[in-house]
Amino acid sequence: MDFNDTPQEAEYRATVRAWLEDNASEYRDPPAESWKLPEFIARSKAWQAKKHAAGYTGITWPKMFGGQGLTPMHSIIYGQEEGRWHVPQGLYSIGLGMCIPTVFTHGNPEVIQRYVPKALLGEEVWCQLFSEPAAGSDLAGIRTKAVKDGDEWVIDGQKVWTSFAHASDFGIVVCRTDPNMPKHKGLTMFIVNMKAPGVTVKGIKQMSGGSDFNEVFFDGVRVQDSHRLGEVGNGWKVALTTLMHERLAVGGKPRYAPGYETLMKLAKGVEAPDGSPAIGASDVRQKIAQTYINDQGIKLTQMRALSALSKGQVPGPEQSISKVVVAKTMQDLASFALDLSGGDGFVAGSDADPELAKLQGSYLGSAGLRIAGGTDEILRNIIAERVLGLPGDMRPDKDTPFNQAVPV
């Protein structure tokens, strides 16, 4: 066993590293103050264009769609190296990670020609319009409808939890086109112009105080039939290909989230009940060990997956445990550390100790992370059903026409 790159991987890494040294120098340190949205977008676009010119966009995409035609390992190596810098990140992850692969898999040639190059260059930003107020975990329960009118479709309804909708030019939207069919069968996917008449984007303020998501309202929004992705009624299968393109998350724990090291540092300066430093207390040491086991365990599990990719194999199913472990571990660690800090861990804002403020952010944010991108419960269902082969939940509405399904 070894933790080294193959010679080919090492060569690519060296090239990437040299390029970043030459081109990312302004992002060596984190920004003194986090960027406001217009600056973030401007910086993201400039960085994407620079990457594009150097051949570091669409690394795994086929060359016919403007990609580099390289392996997932190349993409991962680029991501690891870029992750050492504080370049603007995130604006394109959904568009290029999920939406555009769906466009080039299911779109017609004109649509591909029109949208893919501009998206890859970063000129146009994309969002994914799937979840609805009444359809989160149960995604196929969406109600936003699209009705055919001549050569166009008319969309009415509401989407929610749409990241970057307010910064997006286009989106892919899954709609119900036939409510007389069972829920999974009456769906169709479209490309929608986010600036079209009838599209309203409203920010959502989260309990953490941040605003990462939006509600999007559709009121008689018209879409050309040429902008349909896949066959009418085939939207569920198209949506599944979108979700399959979700890139392999490499980091495990979010980059800046507190971990076991935070607790080790904190516990040196806090008193245990007997007045000695808390780092010597058995419960504190047990919590440090458990946090290490969970966070480092996920990192190591991801390295198992990378090893498979590096050998050109398909990674095993073990990767499926990542988020369900990471999110809850973050919450438990933050909660434990704030407990340990007593009143100091409760004082917030400009009066707070910066390290404790980070833990507060992690405590509030982890509650959302346990839900985003698949709840703890849905992820456990997926492990049980797809990995262990247990039968699916009973779904009484599965084969009933959508408009006749009655809750049991």
């Binding site: 040491r285 480092q296 198992r304 990378l306 498979a308 445990i321 456990r380 262990l388 247990l390």
Partner: protein
């Protein structure tokens, strides 16, 4: 990056699982539990010795195959999953100590017999009143040991024991020839694996390495035992998953209920975390890596967590039938206790993990 077992090691693991699925498992374990049953399956021991399993780690110069710890890990996992009534893991643990710290003469004396299967070896660190591997009361004086070791796995069938005793610089290992030694059988919660009591009364013993070697051996032993625990936990999980697919309640397979499904998912999650750390440990042994101590302790803690959870929830998931004597659930439930007793409790190892992290931080500062 190549963070995975070699194809050769996987192949040996596959071969071992296949053979033990046929020759061992809960059926033979149940027979071994009966009064008057033999202390081990001598026929199976002969067969696996002939296949070279006990020779795997022994250097070629001493009649072995000179393989890596990857093969040992695979064998330990297969043994754990099958509950095989052979002293394989005990012998592998003792072999690791001899390979790590033995002098040429000590290796020449013991390893050829271990490789051929004629010599059965075990390790003895546990003592009455001792709850962690740092705390040994058995003393070494003038080439002899005095103290009591129990419970010692497979002692009733072993020919040689690697014994932990207090040396000049703290606990270290000694070799005790069991010929003529004062041994007795000890009843334990695990009714399948035989354990014993070794009474040392100025009993001749040879030092095996020094206090540092003892600590290094603990790391290796923790990793080998982690694989035994992983194999055992995996078998308990498989039993749960199979039952959840067939048992019907309220008109549906119980595996459709999320309370059941999520329990099984949690078994899988804990097992995969244990596998990640155990593999890290194997990689650290193979590469002489600086993270061996933390990897070994993490593997020990994570594997005990996985085994306890899988073994306990396996009974729960089976309901009343799982609590009966006739059910196989008890084998994993009881073996969980054996694997904790084999090298000290979770809490001590969690603390060792944090000490290793502190040591690393000090070194980096």
């Amino acid at each position: 990056m190549n963070f995975d077992f070699s194809d050769e090691a996987k192949e040996l693991g596959e071969q071992a699982r296949k053979l033990l699925a046929e020759k061992a498992g809960t059926g033979p374990a149940r027979k071994a539990m009966a009064d008057g049953a033999p202390a081990m399956d001598a026929g199976l021991w002969k067969e696996i010795s002939e296949l070279g399993w006990t020779a795997a780690r022994v250097p070629e110069a001493h009649g072995g195959l000179g393989l890596s710890v990857e093969e040992v890990a695979q064998l330990a996992e297969a043994a754990g999953g099958s509950l095989a009534t052979v002293p394989l893991v005990s012998t592998l643990l003792a072999t690791e100590a001899l390979v790590l710290a033995g002098t040429e003469a000590q290796q020449a004396k013991w390893l050829p017999g271990i490789a051929s299967g004629e010599v059965i070896a075990t390790v003895a660190w546990s003592e009455p009143g001792a709850v962690n591997p740092a705390n040994v009361k058995t003393v070494a004086k003038g080439g002899a040991l005095s103290g009591v070791k129990q419970p010692v796995a497979d002692l009733p069938v072993a020919h040689v024991a690697i014994v932990a005793a207090a040396g000049a610089d703290g606990p270290q290992l000694y070799i005790v020839d069991l010929k003529g030694a004062d041994t007795a059988t000890v009843e334990t919660v695990d009714l399948v694996r035989r354990h014993g009591k070794l009474t040392l009364n100025n009993t001749p013993a040879e030092a095996l390495g020094d206090a540092g070697d003892y600590q290094d051996w603990l790391d290796r032993a923790a990793i080998i035992l982690a694989y035994e625990a992983i194999g055992t936990a995996q078998a308990a999980m498989a039993m749960s998953v199979d039952y959840a697919k067939t048992r019907v309640a309220f008109g549906q397979k119980i595996g459709r209920y999320q309370s059941v499904k999520h329990k099984c998912a949690d078994m899988y999650i804990k097992l995969e975390l244990a596998r990640a750390h155990a593999l890290h440990g194997v990689a650290m042994i193979g590469t002489n890596g600086a993270e061996l101590r933390q990897a070994a302790a993490a593997a020990r803690v994570a594997s005990l967590d996985a085994l306890a959870f899988c073994a306990e929830e396996n009974v729960q998931l089976h309901g009343g039938i799982g609590f009966t004597w006739e059910s196989d659930c008890q084998f994993y439930y009881r073996r969980n206790r054996a694997l904790v007793a084999a090298l000290g409790p979770r809490g001590w190892w969690a603390d060792r993990l944090v000490r290793a992290l502190e040591q690393r931080n000090r070194a980096a500062a």
